[in-house]
Every structure is written in structure tokens, then in C-alpha cells.
Symmetry: C2
Subunit: 238 residues, 2 copies
């Protein structure tokens, strides 16, 4: 900031000596501002990344506005860059834009859900109740785009690698001010059939992507504190 102000003083001093319209002055001020902005940006990337992570929320309601395929490609570019076991990059992305296909995916997914809601572990059933999550999956037809992420189960660490890629997608979606959700049906064979995905690939998640029509309160998604989850040199009972 100090350097910036000093440089600005120089730029302004020039203004007093030369004609106002001087291009050189304009350039000097722009150059100072740009350099300042660049330095600040690099310094702030750390905190902006945290800010991005902090403001991301799972979105279950989407409005009707479409999302350009260009944005979707930008998002998938992020997923592509994830590290993976032996660099095998086991993931594939299937973009769903077809409305009838989305309806068929939703119908099949809701069948799976209805079965699952009866047999889910207690923690999950409580969570469903608390969050008012029913077997109805409106977001599968409301969101303008679905991205199905599948992975080649032949690759070592395929599941771990693919979830890194999904995390990259989530952050990229957030950086575009779009909303999403990691929807993981407990049975995924129906996706292999509907999307003609060969059996060597296992569908891992469906990401609806669209403009959020809800703003979930952070309060309902409380986090453990660092003090609760960090240990030094050995596990300590809390």
C-alpha cells in the first residue's frame, strides 16, 4: 500500500507539470494501479480461496435461466486438472442438456431414492429429516445442466482421484457464481444404461449446475472448529 501511494504521488506530480490529457500520465496511473492490483491479488489469493470455499453451499433449488456450454467447459477444465493416482485421470464427464433425458434420469433416481430412504443408516435418515430431503429430486430437472462424473474402476485409486476432480469442479462452479450439489445415488447402474456408459466406468456423482434460487443459511450447516479436528504429533482425546 505504501509503495502504491508513493508511486501514485509520482503519477500525480506528473499531472501537475504536464497537460491534463497527457497519455503518459494516464498510462502511469494505470500501470501503478495494475501493479498494485496484481500484487494485492497474489497476496489475497490465499484468503480469496478460503472465501470461495467458505461461501460455497449445496444448492437444491435452481431457477430456469440457462447456463452456457462455454461456462460448463470452463468448469470441466478445472476438473481435468486434478491430480490422480499414477496420473491415470480415470474420470469422464457426461454433460446432460436434453430435457427428456433429465426427466428419465430423475424418474430412475427417485425410484432408487425411495428404496434407499427406507434402509439408510440412522445418521443419514436424521440428516434427511432435518434438511427436509425427500426422495423427490426436483433439482435433476430444474437445473439447466447436469454433469455426470464417472470413473474407470480399472485405475488404482480411481475413487479417491475422482473425488479430488469433483472438489475442483465444485470450486470452479462457485467461482462462476453458479450453484451445485454432490448428488450420489446409491445405485448407479441406471446411469450406465441411460447414458450408454460402458461397465468399466462407474458413475460417481451427478452435479446439477445452475443459477441458485435459494440462499441456504450457513447456520444450518454448522462446522466443527479447528480445535475439534486438529491434533499435534499424536491423537488427543477432546
Amino acid at each position: 500500500m505504501k509503495i502504491y501511494r508513493n508511486n501514485l504521488k509520482v503519477a500525480c506530480a506528473r499531472t501537475s507539470h504536464h497537460a491534463f490529457a497527457s497519455l503518459a500520465v494516464k498510462r502511469a496511473v494505470i500501470s501503478v494501479a495494475t501493479r498494485y492490483q496484481w500484487n494485492r491479488r497474489h497476496q489475497n489469493l490465499k484468503s480469496e480461496l478460503l472465501h470461495l470455499m467458505r461461501k460455497r453451499r449445496s444448492i437444491r433449488k435452481y431457477n430456469n435461466d440457462s447456463v452456457s456450454l462455454e461456462k460448463i467447459y470452463h468448469i470441466l477444465e478445472a476438473g481435468r486438472l486434478a491430480p490422480s493416482g499414477a496420473n491415470l485421470q480415470p474420470w469422464i464427464y457426461i454433460i446432460i442438456t436434453d430435457d427428456r433425458l433429465k426427466e428419465r434420469i430423475r424418474a430412475k433416481a427417485e425410484n432408487v431414492e425411495r428404496k434407499y430412504h427406507k434402509t439408510a443408516p440412522d445418521e443419514l435418515r436424521e440428516w434427511f429429516k432435518e434438511q427436509k430431503i425427500s426422495p423427490e429430486k426436483e433439482f435433476l430437472t430444474d437445473a439447466p445442466i447436469l454433469v455426470v462424473v464417472a470413473a474407470s474402476i480399472k485405475a488404482p485409486y480411481w475413487l479417491q482421484s475422482t473425488w479430488i476432480s469433483i472438489a475442483y469442479l465444485l470450486l470452479s462452479i462457485e467461482s462462476q457464481d453458479l450453484g451445485s450439489l454432490t448428488y450420489t445415488p446409491t445405485e448407479t447402474q441406471f446411469l450406465n444404461r441411460l447414458l450408454r456408459i460402458p461397465d468399466e466406468y462407474r458413475p460417481v456423482v451427478i452435479l446439477p449446475i445452475g443459477i441458485p434460487a435459494e440462499k441456504p443459511s450457513p447456520r444450518t450447516r454448522a462446522r466443527k472448529t479447528l480445535a475439534q479436528i486438529v491434533h499435534l504429533n499424536s491423537y488427543c482425546l477432546r
Copy 2:
């Protein structure tokens, strides 16, 4: 950019009408620069996030410089913010700073590795050879800090959730210009014993964290293109 230039013109115009040293002018220029920088930063966050993802590489060589615990806490704060199944946040982080402990972890890990290198799947053995990865894990003692990420296996989707958290850690480490690596020993029971981690937690990864002493070439870590991994509305043979 256009708005910025127009505002700058106003700010400069003021400079020509008033005394040079006017605080109001300085403030106006600073305010314009700040707003410009803020807008640009928000617009650029998308591309900066991609840049961060693109430049991250797995680092196997570290120099001796220490890393402050403050930085480590900043990194773990990112991991804490990851989404998780039913918001159960199943992960815990054990920071290892103790040199003798690091040596014991390395010795045990190398035992596991020597066994594993004999039985690993072909793709991995080829990868090990190509990347000159041996059972020796110098980075476990060279890096000033290790972070062991473990997860409560009682939580639904514990593995998936924890790998999102690990991806958040990786990006935060990169944003601090530090290096890391997702080291996943195939047996992890030794970490439960050495670090007194209860059996309900499974160690998932060891992240060495430190200042890189190598700059791996992107060429040796080739990526598939988007065209190879993206499909529209149904899987297509390539």
C-alpha cells in the same frame, strides 16, 4: 476497463482544477483503483483458480526451511470448509512436527512400500518406474511438516468427503507457494499405532508440506484433453 478509464478521466480532471496535493484527488484515484482492482479480482478469480490448479504439481523433494504453524493452520482451515456427506465432516488432521516421529513413520512406511512394490498392479509399477519412484520415502523426513488426514469410517461417504477435504488442502497449500503430495500407504494401521489414533479413524493420506526443492516439468505429467473426457448427453466412443 472502460468504466475504469472513464472514472480515471474524472479523477484526473479534478487534478487539473484543484491543487495537486489535494487529499480528495488522491482519495478519488485510490478509490477508483481499488474498485477496479476489486472488480478485476472477482472477474479473474475464475482464471486464477484455474491457474492455481494448473501450476500445482506433486513435490517429492523439499528443502530444509521450516514452515510456520500459522501457515499450516491456514491450510487446515481450507480442509475444514469442505462439504461432506450429511455434513458429518468425518476428517481429523494430525500435524507431525517431531523429527523422531517423522523418522519412525518413514521407517514403517518404507516397510509397507517394499512389500507393496512387489505386488502392485502393472499400471502402478510402470508409473513407479517411469517416475523413478522407489520404496524410499525421503520426503517423509525431508519435509518440515507432515499432515496425516484420517477419517471416521462410521460416517456415510467418509472416503468421498475426506478426499474433497484433501483437494481443498492441496489447493490451499499451492496458494501458499508450498509443495505437497498425496502419499497413500497401502497399509495404514502403523499410523494408528504410532499416533495413537483410535481404530474408528482410518488414516487416508500423509501430506508432506514444505518448500519445494524441485520443479517438476509439466511435460512428464501429460493430461488428457477435454475432448477425450467430455461427452454430451450420452457416452460416445472416441
